[in-house]
Amino acid sequence: MATEVRFKLNGNRMQMTVEDHWTLLHLLREELGLTGTKEGCGSGECGACTVVVDGLAVNSCLYLAVDVAGKDVLTIEGLAGKDGTLHPLQKSFVENGGIQCGFCTPGMILASKALLDENPRPSEAEIKHALAGNLCRCTGYVPIFASIQAVIDQGIEEVDVVVRQSESPSD
């Protein structure tokens, strides 16, 4: 069975027909070609597929695509500005070595963004608690936590999403 859903994706209004059994991860990667969201374990353990739905970090591998109806979805593709200006979190991950192979990075950055939007001044313990569902096999986590800390230390009040104004497929 298929269902018609309307939702927002990285600021763009979307209207499309999705199969009932599609996960949000499938919708993003296979149907829309947005391969920035990664599939790691596929069972909600690793956090590589993390996206933000209505301000909350979720595992897109377990989230049914039909359930995004009426919701606002943010993926890693929606973070940078249209001109390529990196989001402060992306910039900080680059500058502080929070990225090695890069596979966990989109999930790490989106989980961090959801955290900072909710709590702009988290303690180190709160950062670790918020990222406990994101596994990284390269960095040992220290540079990742440092990357987030650097954004907090810069005191950037506006960590909010820079909506990319690309052409909308729906209207």
């Binding site: 069975m1 269902t3 199969e19 009932d20 059994h21 996960t23 499938h26 596929g42 069972s43 909600g44 353990e45 956090g47 993390t50 909350l56 970090a57 979720v58 595992n59 591998c61 377990l62 989230y63 049914l64 039909v66 359930d67 989980a111 959801a114 955290l115 608690h129 918020a130 406990a132 569902g133 994101n134």
Partner: protein
């Protein structure tokens, strides 16, 4: 992934009738963090997933000011419980437990009702609610019935819910004052992990003293279903709560537990940890009651 149809009934009656017409080819789903893992792995093969998201209405977490009862709608997420100041202040045993279930990503989606219905022996959500004497409200199509949560579980993955029945709400009765609770999920790491053992202690004291008026000691992974140690509870009532009496209660709880060997840990070790954590959580209850009074 195997195909299924996703049905979103608007009312509980519609949900029940859909479940009846599709029989065992259908399955209820709420947050889906357990169901989807099982569907993806092929462990279950439903043709229909019936979402309860609309039928159960918007998730409610509220204290009834007349009765003092805490009402937790089935669809309330673990994250909502984790971040609720009411839960943190008045039901710390529940706050202790939910903050270590899965990850933020899981807790943002996974519901307390789903956690209970899933009925794994390690149900971290169930142990503190049992220690709080919670009651489950069940919609049966013909009406509503209530079940004490301690009697809700029949075995691993088995609850008293008949096919088609829906868990709608958890009600926690008003606790006698002063009281507090604490829960320890004990495992190898704090997140994304099933516990080796789960220990919840909820104590009520006499006003102005450390004499225990009511005790609840609930254990997870200590038996095929969540259990209470009645021996330890009976022992504590009427006694001064001290390290010594809590140590004795820990021994009684360890003896009463029906722990077993598994890949996560051996029975003898689990038994020792029950003893250790009953005492430790009991001391934490004392500390918390003092903080509340301060």
């Amino acid at each position: 992934m195997r195909k299924f149809a996703y049905l979103v009934p608007k009312t509980l009656d519609q949900a029940v009738s859909l479940h009846q017409s599709h029989g065992n080819r259908a399955m209820y789903v709420a947050g889906g963090t357990d169901v989807m893992v099982k569907v993806k792995s092929g462990k279950i093969t439903p043709d229909y997933l019936i979402s309860l998201k609309h039928a159960l209405g918007s998730p409610q977490l509220r204290v009834n000011s007349d009765t003092g009862e805490l009402h937790i709608g089935s669809l309330v997420t673990h994250r909502t419980l984790e971040t609720s100041s009411t839960i943190k202040r008045h039901y710390p045993i529940l706050h202790d437990a939910v903050q270590h279930i899965g990850s933020v990503q899981i807790r943002n989606v996974a519901t307390i009702g789903g956690n209970l219905v899933n009925a794994v022996p390690s149900a971290d959500g169930a142990i503190p609610l049992i220690a709080l004497d919670a009651v489950a409200k069940v919609y049966a199509g013909t009406g509503e019935r209530t079940v004490d949560l301690i009697h809700f579980f029949e075995g691993p993955g088995q609850t008293v819910l008949a096919p088609g029945e829906i868990l709608t709400e958890i009600v926690v009765p008003k606790q006698p004052a002063p009281s507090a609770g604490a829960y320890q999920k004990y495992g190898r790491r704090e997140a994304m992990e099933l516990p080796l053992i789960g220990v919840g202690v909820q104590l009520s004291l006499e006003q102005g003293s450390n004499r225990c008026t009511k005790a609840r000691i609930a254990l997870g992974v200590a038996a095929p279903t969540p259990m209470r140690s009645l021996a330890a509870e009976h022992y504590l009532v009427g006694k001064e709560i001290t390290e010594e009496t809590l140590g004795e209660a820990g021994k009684l709880a360890a003896d009463e537990s029906r722990v077993r060997d598994s890949v996560r840990g051996l029975a003898w070790y689990r038994r020792e940890m029950v003893e250790v954590f009953v005492k430790r959580m009991g001391m934490k209850c004392l500390e918390r009651i003092k903080e509340m009074g301060a």
